[in-house]
């Protein structure tokens, strides 16, 4: 009798302990996020004691170690980041949606069982390996196709980031296409629509918020990616005039300069300001994606 009681007590205690542990882990994520934001903010603010805010956002010259006059303009890096990301999504999104539609609607069970894990495996390739492929394979290929002397440009970065964003786009799009209730599909087919019409006019509209979320998450993946673009885009600081120009993204610039920068100088603070801008950009994108996904969940319930 007594031993049963004891056992009950121990398991009770264990349960409560584990419950608290989980609760703490949940809060920890929030604390870490807020902590990072606070750190970025407090370290970024001193930069603007010496840097003119207007120059920071509107000048396209960034040369903090210049012996002539240090310059802190982020415009060309912001435009470069957007250019490379937009290019990546322009490639990854139609392709990813196509693969997702194929997997959910056309492919046989067997094919799906093989293709889907392979696609997800694509996400496991380290970014430095993708970057190396860009440097030695994609770059020279672009140079030959466009008759350039080299292929270290925004297009190269976009192509590689597209490869890296594809698993996210495919996986989430396919999940949301699968989640469309079978009744919708049956109703559509019963009304005489063929499979293509059902896919385009019924399933995709029904899953549109999930597909939009996959787009946003792919965007989030691409915008912050560092090593790949660092290796593939050439990192020239000039303002980009097209996809065939060499570009330097925000994340690449932080990676290049943070290792060397003397602590607690304007340059150091300015790099944190860059980090803050990147953080806000990805945060907004991920938040939007989450809101959209939430909306879809509620709609389908």
């Amino acid at each position: 009798m007594a031993s049963v009681k004891k056992k009950g007590l121990i398991s009770d205690l264990k349960e409560r302990l584990i419950q608290h542990l989980f609760e703490m882990s949940g809060w920890l994520a929030l604390v870490v996020l807020l902590g990072i934001f606070a750190l970025l903010l407090t370290t970024a603010i001193p930069a603007f004691k010496e840097i003119n805010l207007k120059e920071f956002f509107t000048s396209s010259r960034w040369d903090p170690t210049s012996p002539e006059k240090p310059e802190y303009g982020i415009l060309s890096m912001v435009v470069s980041t957007m250019l490379v990301t937009a290019g990546a999504l322009a490639i990854a999104f139609p392709l990813g949606l196509g693969v997702a539609a194929y997997l959910s609607d056309v492919a046989s069970h067997k094919v799906r069982e093989i293709v889907k894990p392979v696609v997800e495996l694509l996400a496991a390739i380290p970014s430095v390996v993708v970057g190396f492929i860009g440097l030695t394979l994609v770059g020279p290929l672009i140079a030959r196709i466009f008759k350039l002397s080299n292929g270290l440009n925004a297009l190269n970065g976009s192509l590689l980031l597209a490869i890296m964003a594809l698993p996210t786009v495919i996986s989430i799009s396919e999940d949301s296409l699968q989640a469309v209730p079978q009744a919708y599909v049956e109703a559509s087919l019963a009304l005489g629509a063929n499979r293509w019409q059902t896919l385009v006019r019924v399933k995709i509209p029904a899953a549109i918020s999930g597909i939009a979320a996959s787009f946003m998450l792919g965007l989030g993946r691409a915008i912050g990616e560092t090593m790949t673009v660092l290796m593939a885009t050439g990192n020239a600081r000039s303002f980009p005039h097209g996809f065939l120009d060499s570009v330097r993204t925000l994340s690449a610039n932080i990676a290049i300069e943070l290792g060397e920068v003397p602590y607690y100088t304007t340059h150091y603070y300015a790099l944190f300001a860059l980090g803050l801008i990147l953080f806000v950009m990805t945060f907004v994108i991920n938040l939007t994606a989450d809101l959209i996904l939430e909306k879809q969940k509620r709609k389908l319930q």
Partner: protein
């Protein structure tokens, strides 16, 4: 009665945790302590130009003296100097001299650097082997990297836009060229900044309009052969001077090749016995032979004498 059991349970739980924690700590200590006591650790950090050379020197040294463990990291000269100031390495590799700002910061933190020259590097200007240009003056190299000369035609090459390759701003090579060849002017924003000497060579091999700068050690492959696909330019101090190639050892020893520099290591104050012993090995004839084998140049008598002074 119930409360008592609860308390007892809690007590066993707490003591259990304590015991487990203690055991873990003991295990950790027993793992760390003996190895720390047996091996002397030397942390070296800094210049990417020097990382291969110092790595090989360290390996040779460790083979002779198994009691010392040496870790060599790259990251750029600035990274190494910053690490020395912050006390996160014992020895900083740097391919440029200390900047005044860095010296000020060091003294502020009570770090008194001692500087040793361990080898001479000649910075080479490389182009694709198909480029017809063979010789440039220092001023021309400067104008090219400032973005003032934009086409190879001006220099006697094909009518092609010059495509610039360089190092990132944390590299000693970057600052060295900016100071000595660009006369402290800004680099052109068109320079493609690559992640190391090897990447510049790879890019030049593929780019017929390319020009880049790398340490002489990177011009050779593992067998000591000059890399295929690149051409090392001869440099003239000015129009009137004779031209010299960085591959010509005599020209570099005698400082006739215009773009050359010493490679340094710095310690915080007088080097500890272990570090001093490693530096002595680097400066010994054996160490200097490795320096030569890796494509750099041995240091002259004057620098050697200065090193000796700093070791004491």
């Amino acid at each position: 009665m119930k409360n008592q059991t609860k308390n007892k349970n809690l007590k066993t739980l707490v003591t259990g945790f304590l015991k487990a924690g203690l055991a873990l700590i003991l295990v950790a200590f027993s793992l760390i302590l003996p190895s720390a006591a047996q091996k002397k650790m030397i942390q070296i950090k800094g210049s990417d130009t020097m990382v291969n050379l110092v790595q090989i020197l360290a390996e040779e040294y460790m083979a002779k003296k198994p009691g010392t463990a040496i870790a060599v990291l790259g990251g750029g000269s600035g990274t190494g100097i910053t690490a020395l100031i912050n006390g996160t390495c014992d020895l900083a590799n740097h391919s440029r001299e200390w900047k005044t700002k860095e010296l000020d910061l060091a003294y502020e933190k009570g770090v008194k650097p001692r500087i040793f020259a361990i080898a001479i590097d000649a910075l080479s200007i490389v182009v694709n082997e198909k480029n017809p240009v063979n010789t440039l003056t220092m001023a021309q190299v400067g104008s090219i990297f400032c973005g003032e000369i934009k086409n190879w035609k001006v220099l006697g090459g094909a009518d092609q836009k010059i495509s610039l390759y360089g190092r990132q701003s944390n590299s000693g090579t970057y600052s060295f060229l900016q100071e000595h060849v660009l006369n402290n002017k800004n680099y052109s924003p068109e320079v493609k900044e690559m992640n190391g000497n090897a990447q510049i060579i790879e890019a030049i091999i593929q780019d017929q309009a390319g020009i880049g700068y790398v340490g002489v050690g990177y011009l050779f492959d593992q067998n000591g052969q000059l890399r295929k696909g690149i051409k090392v330019l001869k440099i003239k101090k000015d129009e009137a001077s004779p031209e010299y190639s960085p591959l010509d050892k005599e020209a570099v020893y005698s400082a006739r090749y215009p773009i050359s520099r010493p490679l340094y290591q710095s310690t915080n104050g007088k080097p500890s016995a272990a570090v001093a012993d490693f530096i002595r090995f680097e400066l010994s004839p054996e160490g200097q032979a490795i320096v030569e084998k890796e494509g750099f140049f041995r240091i002259g008598k004057e620098l050697q004498a200065e090193n000796e002074k700093n070791l004491k």
